[in-house]
């Protein structure tokens, strides 16, 4: 595909896989298949899904394609008692917005939640929306008395 070098850096396809150094990711080092976020202005970070990693060069290939659907761990936390811990939790339903949440209170290998703010009161970036993985995916999924973590299909917002 043609690329106008004056302003265009990527090819014209709608799929966007891009190399990002580990040092520019919220979670350093990343693992393949996990949700990731590039360091930036709170609430406006670019997010995607790690496809592969190169531990030798400390570079991850991230899928930033809007609309891609991946399964990710999703925490049901809605709000935090700022600086302390999770405060409220919500059920998971189709269409719920999902945020990249770097709160220290998140379970291991879980980077997404229903909370637009992290435990420090800082804006989380929109990562995507809850969608059914297939026809057998049942909703709503329980919030949990003290929170739940679900493996859930997410349509990512991407770049």
């Amino acid at each position: 595909m043609t690329i106008n070098p004056n302003y265009e850096v990527s090819s014209e396809g709608c799929v966007r896989h891009w190399e990002i150094p580990y040092a520019s990711l919220e979670n350093n080092p990343p693992d393949a298949t996990e949700a990731c976020e590039v360091l930036g202005t709170a609430g406006l970070q670019v997010t995607g899904t790690v496809l592969t990693i190169d531990a030798g060069t400390s570079i991850a290939i991230v899928d930033f394609t809007p609309g891609m659907v991946y399964r990710h761990n999703l925490r049901t936390v809605l709000t935090y008692n700022p600086g302390v811990a999770e405060l409220t939790w919500g059920t998971v339903d189709i269409g719920d917005p999902v945020y990249y949440d770097g709160s220290a209170s998140m379970p291991a290998n879980t980077y997404l939640s229903l909370s637009p703010l992290n435990t420090g009161g800082t804006a989380n970036a929109l990562f995507g929306w809850v969608v059914p993985a297939d026809d057998n995916d049942v909703f709503p999924k329980a919030a949990g008395v003290a929170g739940n973590t679900w493996e859930q299909a997410i349509m990512q917002h991407g770049a």
């Binding site: 394609t65 609309g67 399964r71």
Partner: protein, 158 residues
């Protein structure tokens, strides 16, 4: 294209068609070709265009592909007052278009120029006005006069 079922649900193409149950849509009786919005948090809902429906299973297939261009009905309302339309604007290229679930919207019209609905709740950005072709002329309508237009809209999608 291969899909790793452990974590990948969609194929790797940039086009995204996905099944959504009727009950999860703002308009729970969707019709093909109309704008659709998934029920969610005001102002950040997922939206797209209905491609097909399965009335037996009550499932709609929605095109969530960013930057797809479809013709949709657009109401030129800009603001509401006391739950009714208050001001109206002309349509020009580049104007943001919102999914508007106001009860005052004409039948089969789900998009408007209003960033908030008639109950002052945030509408979600649906896309932007673009020319359908080289003969599409702008502006359409005039400020202060209510109207509904069929208009090409480049959708924001997912």
């Amino acid at each position: 294209m291969t899909i790793n079922p452990n974590y990948e649900c969609s194929s790797e193409g940039g086009v995204r068609h996905w099944e959504i149950p009727y009950r999860s849509l703002e308009n729970a009786t969707p019709v093909e070709t109309e704008a659709a919005e998934v029920v969610g948090t005001d102002g950040v809902q997922l939206n797209g265009t209905v491609l097909t429906i399965d009335a037996t299973l009550s499932i709609a297939v929605i095109d969530f592909t960013p930057s797809m261009v479809y013709r949709h009905s657009i109401r030129n309302v800009l603001t509401y007052n006391a739950a009714v339309e208050n001001t109206w604007g002309a349509l020009t290229i580049g104007l943001p278009v919102y999914y508007d679930n106001s009860a005052t919207m004409p039948a089969l019209t789900y998009l408007s120029l209003a960033a908030a609905n008639n109950l002052a709740q945030a509408n979600t950005l649906f896309g932007w006005i673009v020319p359908a072709d080289a003969t599409d002329t702008f502006p359409k309508g005039v400020g202060g006069v209510a109207a509904t237009f069929e208009q090409a809209v480049m959708q924001h999608g997912a």
